[in-house]
């Protein structure tokens, strides 16, 4: 078996070889390298045609009109454009925005920036299972609330929010509803004819497409207006200027086309692998699955291994590429803000690992992962003073720790 085993599909996915093959046809002199905005020759026309096919493929996956798809550099840019663009355009309605503490930084930091510009933001604390309720939103909505942003699938714990119900609420109150669907496209069914969502962000590289390309769905009926955040040649109907990267767009289109074709079989296969993983680790003591058990995607599984520290666990799992709920490996030593927002203690948050499964994960890889996890937990608990204390029946909350 080739090591390390990649189980970090929520961070990024490899480009599907079928997608890469397609993209290569849009780069060189022998391919369709033209600028899609060139109106005076074939090179431009052909590139434009490729872009429009991709736009349709993306729209088809989520049952939208191709004219509702605006290309961006990725979901981060889409979130920025959606939230800032709508807040700016509709600022006369009000300057209050609502989001959730477990959102991606691309949403939270955009909100922080708007706060600096004079907007007020309510950050909802979800339930301990990661979900927000309609009651929470209703309680937070004010007459001057202009935009609500809630992610579809959480990137750390994989829970799926009730986007349909939140959409109904927003529409009934005349509030613009933005959804970050970076982790949702190709993972859950999305029907934008049925969902009352006004703006939805997509990313290609979470769905076997290339990095550096994404899209924003901007509803036409009822029509949603945005203040552009990137100015220039007026591409994408003035909402996002900049030469369209044909090869990236073609890649995203092909990735989304494949997702539409294969996602239901893929979900079944990944669910079986996820169940196999959970079954394999469930006999380890003091192991907890984070987030709601039912409303979740099978691709993302976040598990806490109590009394074992996350970064050392990742080191022990060096043959498996996973990520820590703890951000210890970055410059910040804070535990995951997502897990903290669920009310989890710092130490349990520090002990959490995200396993994310994808298209190329095999049963054999999962079995090997289970074996390595068992070995790692055994080794680290044998070394852990906290495990000894737990085994001795000492309640760690009663110990007078010397914080540093």
């Amino acid at each position: 078996m080739k090591l390390p085993i990649y189980l970090d599909y929520a961070a990024t996915t490899p480009v599907d070889p079928r997608v890469a093959e397609k993209m290569m046809q849009y780069l060189t002199m022998d391919g369709e390298f033209g600028n899609p905005a060139s109106r005076s020759h074939r090179f431009g026309w052909q590139a434009e045609e490729a872009v429009e096919i991709a736009r349709s493929q993306i729209a088809e996956l989520v049952n939208a009109d191709p004219r509702e798809i605006v290309f961006t550099s990725g979901a981060t840019e889409s979130n920025n454009l959606a939230i800032k663009g709508a807040a700016d355009f509709y600022h006369k309605k009000g300057k209050h925005l609502i989001t959730v503490k477990t959102e991606h930084k691309a949403t939270l930091d955009t909100m922080r920036q708007l706060e600096r510009e004079g907007y007020e933001v309510t950050y909802l604390e979800p339930q301990t299972d990661g979900l927000v309720t309609i009651a929470m939103l209703e309680a937070a909505i004010r007459p001057d609330t202009s935009v609500i942003s809630v992610m579809f699938v959480n990137n750390e714990i994989g829970v799926v929010q009730d986007i349909a119900a939140i959409g109904e609420l927003c529409r009934s109150k005349g509030i613009i509803f933005h959804v970050d669907a970076a982790q949702a496209a190709g993972k859950v069914d999305i029907d934008l004819q049925a969902l009352k969502v006004d703006l939805m962000s997509f990313s290609a590289h979470k769905a076997y497409g290339p990095k550096g390309i994404g899209a924003l769905f901007v509803r036409r009926k009822p029509r949603i207006r945005l203040e552009a955040q990137m100015h220039g040649g007026g591409h994408e109907r003035g909402m996002r200027s900049g030469t369209l990267p044909t090869h990236q767009i073609v890649g995203m289109g092909e990735a989304f086309r494949l997702a539409k074709l294969e996602m239901h079989d893929e979900i079944k296969r990944i669910t079986a692998l996820r169940d196999r993983l959970l079954e394999g680790v469930k006999d380890i003591e003091q192991v907890f699955l984070n987030g709601n058990r039912e409303h979740r995607v099978p691709h993302i599984t976040n598990i806490s291994f109590n009394y074992v520290e996350g970064e050392s666990l990742i080191m022990a799992l060096k043959d498996i590429a996973v990520s820590s709920g703890s951000a210890c490996t970055s410059a910040s030593l804070e535990p995951s803000y997502v897990l903290r927002a669920l009310g989890m203690s710092d130490e349990l948050a520090h002990s959490s690992i995200r396993f994310s499964i994808g298209r190329f994960t095999t049963e054999q890889q999962i079995d090997h992962t289970i074996k390595i996890v068992h070995q790692a937990i055994e080794k680290l608990r044998a070394m852990s003073p906290l495990w000894d204390m737990y085994k001795d029946g000492i309640d760690l909350n009663t110990v007078a720790w010397v914080a540093h």
């Binding site: 970064e311 050392s312 080191m315 710092d346 540093h404």
Partner: protein
């Protein structure tokens, strides 16, 4: 994170993991850190009648450099007098393991663990 080979060696082959009987009069224990911060180190020393650290063991909950720092100090304190062990500096630990700047706190914690164990010994034996 790019750890030095020394950190990886101590992490993969930790020296002197384990515990002594804390009720043994020659044993002293230093426990420092907090679970909420992501590191707890327990360092135990076994001290001879003439004040020499004969043996040391550790258990650590923490990142790779916390484990490596505590593993390293168990090696360093062995054979030293309490006064000599008291002189071990976090900067020496950090330098030996080539700890990255964000992990310096692990070496500070290891130094604290030595000091806490020595203090425990002195308290047990009437200062």
């Amino acid at each position: 994170m790019a750890y030095s080979n020394k950190v990886i060696d101590h992490y993969e082959n930790p020296r002197n993991v384990g515990s002594f009987d804390k009720d043994d009069a020659s044993v002293a224990t230093g426990m420092v850190g907090a679970p909420a911060c992501g590191d707890v180190m327990k360092l135990q020393i076994k001290v001879s009648a003439d004040g020499i650290i004969e043996d040391a063991k550790f258990k650590t909950y923490g990142c790779g450099s916390a484990i490596a720092s505590s593993s390293l100090v168990t090696e360093w304190v062995k054979g030293k007098s309490l006064d000599e062990a008291q002189q071990i500096k976090n900067t020496d630990i950090a330098q030996e393991l080539a700890l990255p700047p964000v992990k310096i706190h692990c070496s500070i914690l290891a130094e604290d663990a030595i000091k806490a164990a020595i203090a425990d010994y002195k308290q047990k034996h009437g200062g």
